[in-house]
């Protein structure tokens, strides 16, 4: 990857994260994947060295850097061989804490953020529901405010979430849930609220089931069932009805991080493929001497570089918008969604070609490219699908009529 245009701080981030990640080899990730065991040592090492606080305020023990730096960190993690599994083990801690830092009460911030940064607690993010899918505004999980026996106020949560990454190992969940019926409010978005809730797996009304999945098996993804699960009322982040607005705010940042994670995977796969193409001799010459092998890899490189420019452009816009009011949320949204799309596609191309370059060995676990290939579908699907990004660009940029 060309590193022109990165700032000195960003290059330091990259170098330091790269060094840390060398302590977690591909053997480590291969074993975690095969046995579906959480990479908690990796999470702790990153926490111990302060990386989870990269984009959180210094007041709570973070380092106050931007989404650009966080994106490069995520890319470097994934590029180290840790892949999407490694990225997902920390992703929500970096990203889902952003709304808390911005909109949380002082008590919520000082209680939660330092513990997340220090690695004592882990965070997960609960939005997706089986009954709603990408149509988030139709989610059915309800949080109902009740005053219990004393005069303590609580929210009682009922409903189902799906695909919640790291729910098994997290102590807190950023939960988006319905506090009003759709018809009760002017805009459907005003019916949702955001909570930062404790996950007490021994308490009544909370159950989770791990989903068996194609890749990134080291980290758990879950169906989470709430059935009258009670949380203190002060778990509410911001005001009731503001949840969707708050989440939207952080979504562009998440697109950037995911784009970075995809890029890392793509660059890792491409590096492997080109090494193999140089070293593997068939028909008495390196296979990379065949243009049928070389050109697809050269093409994959250019796609990654282009996606990289789009990614760090979006991240820069996001960061700059904090001080530059002329940068609109729409402009950031367009850049961040485009970046996520392009990076996911470029990563997919690189990973697929890396497998094919390896011939039969591409199918062997030992060469890692099959693991990355299984993982590279995630950025294409989550947190928003390719189709929904195309819908968004069609509507927002091309001003085409909305199709749904």
């Amino acid at each position: 990857m060309s590193t022109t245009d990165f700032t000195e701080t960003q290059l330091q981030v990259r170098e330091a994260v790269r060094t840390l990640c060398t302590h977690f080899s591909n053997e480590y990730w291969r074993a975690r994947d095969e046995t579906s065991t959480d990479p908690h040592a990796f999470h702790s090492a990153l926490a111990k060295a302060g990386w989870l606080g990269i984009a959180l305020p210094e007041r709570y023990g973070g380092s106050g850097l931007g989404i650009s730096e966080a994106t490069l960190m995520m890319q470097t993690i994934s590029e180290s061989g840790a892949g999407i599994a490694g990225a997902q083990a920390i992703h929500a801690n970096v990203y889902a804490t952003q709304p808390l830092a911005l909109f949380g009460s002082e008590a919520q911030r000082s209680d939660t953020i330092p513990r997340i940064i220090g690695g004592e607690w882990r965070m997960c993010f609960g939005v997706t529901e089986p009954g709603a899918g990408l149509d988030t505004l139709r989610m059915g999980t309800v949080a109902k405010r009740e005053t219990d026996h004393g005069d303590r106020s609580e929210y009682v949560i009922s409903g189902q979430k799906i695909w919640i990454t790291c729910a098994q190992v997290a102590q807190r969940m950023m939960l988006l849930a319905r506090t009003k019926a759709r018809g009760e409010v002017e805009k459907p978005s005003q019916a949702l609220s955001l909570f930062c809730i404790p996950l007490d797996r021994s308490a009544p009304g909370l159950e989770m089931r791990r989903i068996k999945k194609m890749g990134g098996r080291a980290v758990d993804a879950n169906e989470v069932f709430f059935d009258g699960y009670r949380v203190p009322a002060d778990c509410l982040v911001g005001k009731e009805g503001e949840g969707f607005k708050i989440i939207l705010h952080g979504m562009n940042a998440e697109r950037c991080l995911l784009a970075g994670e995809a890029l890392g995977l793509g660059y890792a796969a491409l590096a492997r493929a080109s090494t193999y193409a140089r070293e593997r001799n068939v028909f008495e010459r390196p296979i990379g001497m065949n243009q049928g092998i070389a050109h697809p890899l050269a093409d994959a490189y250019m796609r990654l570089e282009a996606a990289k420019l789009a990614t760090y452009h979006a991240a820069r816009l996001y960061d700059a918008s904090k001080t530059d009011e002329t940068i609109s949320q729409d402009a950031i949204g367009i850049a961040a969604n485009s970046a996520k799309y392009l990076a996911a596609e470029a990563a997919f191309t690189a990973c697929e070609r890396a497998v094919l370059t390896h011939g039969g060995m591409g199918y062997a676990q030992e060469y890692d490219v099959e693991r990355w290939f299984r993982e590279c579908l995630v950025p294409r699907i989550a947190p928003v699908s390719r189709e929904m990004i195309l819908n968004y660009i069609g509507e927002k940029v091309l001003e085409l009529p909305r199709s749904y």
């Binding site: 701080t9 330091q12 170098e15 330091a16 840390l20 060295a49 302060g50």
Partner: protein, 262 residues
């Protein structure tokens, strides 16, 4: 002695994981667009200095550390590794900017370091036993000679046992050797000395606020880099020829005789 003033020279070298390639002109190895990092032995030096300050393990009785100064002479980018050294715990940095074409030889570096030691009033210098680019392994010894200080090379364990005494375990042929000396002294580090910490993000951020002085050779009263050697030619080692398989011991003996080895 009131406190330790430790000087840690660090060098920017081609990263240990990179396979170096000879440049086209055959005058050296290709350095453009090649990943560089801190000489691995120098990471050990920084780590050990920080452990002395933290009074880790065998440094429990060490005098307090007044200051750890990271120093590098080299191209402008050498400042990156001084920043890394500061992120690992050095208090400030000094960078003598030297063009790649004027690169110093070990004696030149030792003479420069002597001036730095005098100016900084250092009483302990911890260097890598060698830099992995030239593998000369001379600077520490020459510096000790020029300063007329004691030296303990290839340290695999350093214990500061009281205010002025240092014990160093060295790996030597056939075993280990423990030597004891008084400060001030020069120590060079070997691989088994410690495991360097990685720079944490908060410390990287703190390091940005630490002072990094940029200097020239002239600032230390050195007018010329004093290079005495000329590299005539650098080339790749010849590719190894494939071996021959012999059937049995007799075959082996026959072959060795044929090659004149027996």
């Amino acid at each position: 002695m009131s406190g330790l003033r430790i000087l840690v020279p660090v060098k920017r070298v081609i990263d240990y994981a990179v396979k170096p390639r000879v440049n086209r002109a055959q005058t050296g190895v290709e350095t453009a667009n090649v990943k560089h990092s801190m000489n691995p032995f120098d990471e050990l030096s920084i780590e050990e200095s920080v452990r002395i300050r933290e009074k880790k393990a065998h440094h429990a009785h060490a005098p307090p550390v007044e200051e750890i100064v990271a120093f590098s002479a080299g191209v402008p980018k050498s400042q990156d590794i001084i920043r890394t050294a500061m992120a690992m715990g050095a208090d400030r940095g000094i960078h003598v900017v030297v063009d790649e074409k004027d690169a110093l030889e070990p004696l030149g570096v030792a003479k420069l370091l002597k001036k730095v030691v005098e100016q900084e009033n250092s009483n302990l210098v911890i260097l890598g036993k060698q830099a992995i680019d030239d593998d000369a392994g001379q600077t520490g010894q020459m510096l000790a000679g020029l300063l007329n200080w004691a030296q303990a090379t290839q340290a695999s364990k350093v214990s500061i046992t009281d205010q002025t005494t240092v014990e160093v375990v060295q790996e030597v042929d056939g075993g280990v050797q423990t030597i004891r000396s008084k400060l001030p002294m020069v120590i060079t580090t070997d691989l088994r000395l410690n495991e360097p910490r990685y720079a944490s993000l908060p410390n990287i951020m703190k390091a940005k606020k630490k002072v990094l002085d940029k200097k020239s050779l002239a600032d230390y009263g050195i007018e010329e880099s004093g290079v005495r050697l000329k590299t005539v030619k650098v080339c790749e080692p010849p590719p190894r020829k494939g071996g021959v398989k012999v059937e049995d011991v007799d075959g082996m003996i026959g072959k060795l005789k044929e090659l004149g080895a027996l």
